[in-house]
């Protein structure tokens, strides 16, 4: 009886799921692709992953200790940030660079704005762009796998520079036998992780599907290859689109909460990614597209508030 008359402020719908469980699921979902990267590239990739995660967790702990706040490293969100950042780095990068990035992600992008739930930009991606601007050379030099026709350049860069499409092997793109960052190359492992998240209902497939669909449509319209499914598939599987769409665009904090807003968000993401990839200076544009669209999220939320039940029209 006492429980039934519980007076409280919103949210009124309660669930036993905690932040820690959700974040742990995200970490679990990224393990296949992280393992693939580590097996593929060896010790340095493993060090990057481990130290970046450690740095992220430690810097959150240190900041909260220093500011005499509640310690929140138990919610796994710092680990997720660190892991995403590590998976976004090239395998042969000097280990200290992603570590600097993860301190920046946690302290500047997340904690200074008030911690988890208050950051307006995806911390891992913000830090990645920070590193990309600071260490442009080191962040974009990728280790080739085997004797490949496209060795050294990612498939996206290869295609952007007008490389021969005959050298682009879709199977290699899908399985991850291509140069790229530690975690973005194996689409198979990424999709296994994404499936896990969808089955566990951690993410909804709505944003990723609309996002990828918009990129496909944009590439089809403006790619300059006509209706070429082979090229289209290479654009979607090459680079970090799958990784970004399922693991970064769906971040709870930095994506809209309204149903229509999520559609708008995903479409804008797709258009931005397409613009950056096809008309921008560099071959890949997923990171910039996501963090720039993150800025629009409050506006999108505001403009797409659903009509309350029982109310007519606007306001």
């Amino acid at each position: 009886m006492k429980k039934m008359l519980n007076l409280s402020s919103n949210p009124h719908i309660r669930d036993s799921v905690t932040t820690a469980e959700i974040m742990r699921d995200v970490v679990i979902a990224m393990i296949p692709t992280a393992l693939y990267g580590i097996i593929q590239w060896g010790v340095n990739a493993a060090l990057v992953v481990l130290l970046t995660v450690a740095c992220a967790v430690l810097s959150e702990y240190a900041y909260e200790k220093f500011m005499k706040m509640q310690i929140t490293i138990g919610d796994w969100s710092a680990a997720v940030t660190g892991l995403i950042l590590a998976l976004n780095c090239p395998p042969d990068i000097p280990v200290w660079i992603p570590c600097v990035g993860s301190v920046f992600a946690i302290i500047v992008i997340k904690m200074l704005y008030g911690g988890l739930g208050k950051n307006w930009m995806n911390p891992a991606l913000g830090a990645r762009c920070f590193l990309l601007i600071s260490f442009a050379g080191k962040m974009t030099s990728f280790t080739p796998i085997g004797a490949d026709a496209m060795s050294g350049a990612t498939p996206l860069a290869y295609m952007k520079n007008g490389g021969d499409m005959a050298n682009v092997n879709l199977m290699n793109l899908f399985l991850g036998r291509i140069p790229g960052t530690i975690g973005e190359v194996s689409k198979l492992c990424l999709l296994i992780g994404a499936l896990y998240l969808i089955v566990k209902k951690v993410i909804s497939p709505k944003i990723p599907c609309i996002y990828i669909g918009t990129v496909a449509l944009f590439t089809l319209l403006f790619g300059g290859h006509g209706f070429d499914l082979y090229y289209l598939a290479s654009e979607i599987l090459g680079g970090g689109l799958i990784f970004g769409a399922f693991f970064m665009a769906t971040d709870y904090v930095t994506s809209p909460i309204t149903p229509n807003g999520q559609v708008v968000y995903a479409v804008i993401l797709g258009i931005m990614t397409g613009l950056f990839r096809l008309f921008g200076g560099s071959a890949e544009g997923v990171s910039y597209a996501i963090i720039l669209t993150n800025i629009l999220v409050p506006v999108i939320n505001l403009k797409t508030i659903p009509r309350a039940f029982g109310r007519e029209g606007d306001k």
Binding site: W96, V100, V108, F130, I133, S134, F135, A136
Partner: protein
Amino acid sequence: MNKYIERIYNGIVKENPTFILMLGMCPTLATTTSATNAIGMGLSTTAVLMFSNMLISGLRNIIPNRVRLPGEIVVIASLVTIVQLLMQAYTPAIYESLGIYIPLIVVNCIILGRAEAYALFNTPVISFCDGLGMGIGFTFSLTVLGAVRELIGAGSIFGFQIIPSDYTIGIFVLAPGAFIVLAFLSAIQNKLKLPSATNGGQEVPEFVTSGDVMGAFNQKEAPASEIKKEA
């Protein structure tokens, strides 16, 4: 004599234009890519500030009140042109790297701010000292900002390499670095409870036309509280 030194001290410490009044943020962010650039910008602004304050103070009874802004701008613009030509002749390297920001000193809000707030009500000599103090304060702040950005971003201070270039974080000499460093310096200042327009420790003068939102709020509330006190 003492009041002249007081003006200089006021400009450097008590009403430091960058860190306390939060004025002139555009050149502060744009020209502090290195300590040398920062000093160049600071000193050229100081030169303009001293003489514009002195001249406007001297002309304050001649310029009709209705056209005082155009009058002040004419004085400031002439001085900036002189400084620009002198720099082009004698310090071509700094002139090149500061580029458009030298002519933009004309619209620097510190200069117009001091003219409007101080030179119009005071005698030429003390206005000159006020300009000198403000200028030194501006130069000092810019140099601190420039040195921090140069150290982290390029690994050097005044061009002397301290950190090997492999270990520098390039973003700090670019635009985002300016915002990050300025924000951190202001945060440290707030943490130490030093007076500033953003932490309520400094009374915001009515004339302040900075982009500082908190300052604008303080300004709105200030008269109400004064009325209360009087009542």
